[in-house]
């Protein structure tokens, strides 16, 4: 069976007044029906990776190299009608910002029905009943009435659930979710995560879930990839990453969480700031902030160390035992 997703050496540059090397040589694969959480620094390229997967980056202002295959389809070669069919049909996305996905001038029912009609060729009536069913499934209270609401009439959390309904309405093979639960309270968030887990099994779809919350990653995904400065610096099962994160950035991220910190105590932010991304990295991008950096880390790209199958760490010192610290 072909992989659900194969990204090979993806490199993305934004051209403008200043060039931004947003994605630098990213490779990633996923099997059918797998769930992957994408963690990482703000600005590390998580959203750009998802946008590339959807063919959403403006071709005029972006240079893309490498390849992306979803279910065997060469995504970067798609355009026009084929791209539209793929987008929202095969792969769909739940955005970080509801403002980007929901059109303020149409009711939410209309928007979901419209998508279903376009992709599945349903009649208006059937499409509206699918829309109603989807709103129910994401637990929108009084869904019937909400069909006729405009996005601005919904609370932030409800807008987010409408987006999820919109994304799932065409039963995609791969769902891209960009922090879809950050705007939800804990009780609704856990309901949505359990719901996504359920629908994911039912539809057999793959999920890439961008989150900043390690707890959310634990609840939703079997696997985790950690990004830093446009690269994947570590990948493994959720268990491996949580219990035995090897990359110093991953460790910093785990240490910055607030679980056991006393009120008002200074938090452990990772010192320094991420690199400018103005040039393609030729050494470890994390070295300037890394407490364990050696001079070799500043001289060449670190090797990708693979402690076990489908486990990788982009750090020169990943093989050293933790006790040696």
């Amino acid at each position: 069976m072909t992989n659900l997703l194969d990204i090979q050496n993806l490199t993305i540059r934004f051209k403008g007044k200043r060039t931004v090397h947003a994605i630098n040589d990213v490779s990633l694969s996923m099997k059918q029906g797998e769930t992957l959480a994408l963690l990482g620094e703000s600005g590390s390229g998580k959203s750009v990776t998802l946008k590339a997967l959807l063919g959403l980056l403006p071709p005029k202002r972006t240079d893309i190299a490498g390849s992306i295959h979803v279910n065997g389809t060469d995504v970067l070669s798609l355009s026009g009608k084929a791209l539209q069919r793929y987008r929202g049909g095969e792969v769909s996305m739940v955005f970080q910002e509801p403002a980007l996905a929901l059109d303020p001038v149409y009711t939410v029912g209309h928007q979901i029905a419209e998508t279903v009609m376009r992709h599945k060729g349903l009649s208006k009536e059937d499409a509206l009943s699918t829309a109603l069913d989807m709103l129910d499934r994401v637990r929108i209270p009084s869904a019937n009435r909400r069909l006729n609401n405009y996005p601005h009439e919904l609370s932030g959390g409800m807008r987010q659930r409408v987006m999820i309904a919109l994304a799932l309405a065409c039963r995609p093979k791969l769902l891209l979710a960009d922090e879809p639960t950050t705007a939800l309270d804990a009780t609704v968030q856990i309901q949505i995560l359990l719901l996504l887990r359920e629908l994911q099994k039912e539809f057999g779809m793959g999920v890439i879930f961008v989150t900043h919350d390690i707890g959310v990653a634990v609840e939703i995904s079997e696997r985790v990839a950690v990004m830093y400065a446009g690269q994947i610096v570590e990948e493994g099962t959720t268990r491996e990453i949580i219990r035995d994160g090897r990359h110093p950035y991953t460790r910093g991220l785990l240490a910055a969480n607030l679980h056991d910190v006393a009120r008002g105590e200074r938090l452990n932010a990772i010192a320094g700031s991420p690199p400018a991304l103005e040039a393609k990295p030729d050494a470890c991008s994390f070295a300037p902030r890394c407490p364990r950096a050696l001079s070799a880390c500043r001289e060449a790209l670190p090797p990708m160390i693979t402690p076990s199958e489908r486990r990788r760490v982009g750090c020169l010192r990943a093989d050293e035992t933790l006790a040696a610290e």
């Binding site: 403002a99 009435r145 609370s155 959390g157 939800l184 804990a186 009780t187 968030q189 910093g252 008002g264």
Partner: protein
């Protein structure tokens, strides 16, 4: 950043005067309904909300999506017009002795949706400097660059970019820098850090703590991340369906949540253990329709402890017997309520 960069309006009411008093705030949004789309129904977004925020205090607000947190915040800064109620800022009542434009000088808000609140045609530097330019402050660009630096956005790298050229977390920091550049005394942060990764979040929380220590800033901090709310807040206020259901010092509520809704909310925090994931959501059922909220206690349709009195009578806010500062709205704690467990609280 020095004291001259941050120059909030001077205190007038003295330290004992709460910076903010909110009394019986109400907002009902009309919605289209009925045969001819006449407005008949009303969403009871905020219904009789009262609280105080002391000077230098941080009040955390939590609650279910749609319970009225953002509406409360917008009412506070006069962005949404209230139907009823009073807002008293440092002793002056809004609309009486305090004109809206004076209130806005003292209060800044950071919104939930970072994309919608930035002008796409302004560069980041212009966005951050905009407010201070309007106020006629000296060197608004210099101040804007300093603020950007403080929230971890290198001005050399970001000043000339446009909002769409930033990541979500970077945009949210622009919003924070823009609010702080105005030297407010009260900052209302609505999900201001939820788009940030944990390390940048830590950096911003450290900054908020520093500013509070240095300039006695007061915050209202709305967030779904209970760990963040616990860390930053002195007191936590819990809302359900437009009403306050519990308000308590953070240590007290963290140890033991009195209201049944609050208890479900706290037990819904994601597991940190891959071998022990959540199987059942702790709060089942749909949130009731805010157009037609349940009678009596609004939580009774989903509460495990509901009895007849909960359906008929609305409970009142009262301090707990063992800690008067820990206030709750629930018949379980009122010995005279007529609930079978009146005065006993939630069973252990």
């Amino acid at each position: 950043m020095s004291a001259t960069d941050y120059a909030p309006k001077p205190d007038t009411g003295g330290p004992a005067q709460p910076l903010l008093i909110v009394k019986d705030l109400q907002k009902h949004f009309p919605v289209r309904g009925g045969l001819f789309g006449r407005t008949q129904a009303k969403v009871q977004a905020v219904d009789g909300v009262s609280f105080e925020v002391k000077k230098g205090e941080t009040l955390g607000i939590v609650g279910e999506s749609g319970c009225g947190k953002s509406t409360t915040a917008k009412l506070l800064i006069g962005l949404t017009e209230k139907d009823r109620g009073e807002i008293i800022f440092d002793g002056l009542s809004l609309g009486q002795r305090l004109p809206l434009k004076d209130l806005r000088k003292g209060v800044q808000m950071v919104f939930q949706d970072s994309y919608a609140t930035l002008n796409p045609r302004l560069t980041i530097l212009d966005s951050v400097a905009f407010g201070t330019k309007v106020q006629g402050l000296k060197d608004p660009n210099g101040l804007a660059r300093k603020m950007m630096d403080r929230v971890g956005l290198n001005p050399n790298r970001f000043a000339h970019r446009y909002p769409h050229e930033l990541s979500g977390g970077q945009r949210q920091r622009v919003n924070i820098a823009r609010a702080l550049a105005m030297s407010p005394r009260l900052v209302v942060l609505d999900e201001a850090v939820s788009a940030l990764d944990k390390s940048v979040e830590a950096q911003v929380l450290n900054l908020l703590n520093d500013l509070r220590a240095e300039f006695g800033l007061t915050y209202i901090f709305i967030s779904h991340d209970l760990n963040v709310v616990r860390y930053i807040s002195d007191r936590i206020l819990v809302m359900y369906l437009g009403e306050v259901v519990e308000v308590a010092p953070v240590d007290s509520i963290w140890k033991s949540q009195a209201h049944p809704y609050t208890r479900s909310l706290f037990s819904a925090m994601p597991s940190m253990d891959p071998d022990n994931r959540t199987q059942e959501p702790p709060l089942a059922g749909d949130p009731p329709n805010p157009i037609n909220p349940p009678s009596g206690c609004r939580f009774h349709t989903r509460c495990r402890f509901a009895s007849d009195v909960c359906k008929s009578d609305a409970p009142r806010l009262d301090g707990l017997a063992q800690n008067a500062a820990h206030m709750v709205v629930c018949h379980l704690y009122d010995a005279a309520s007529g609930h079978p467990r009146a005065g006993q609280g939630i069973p252990a």
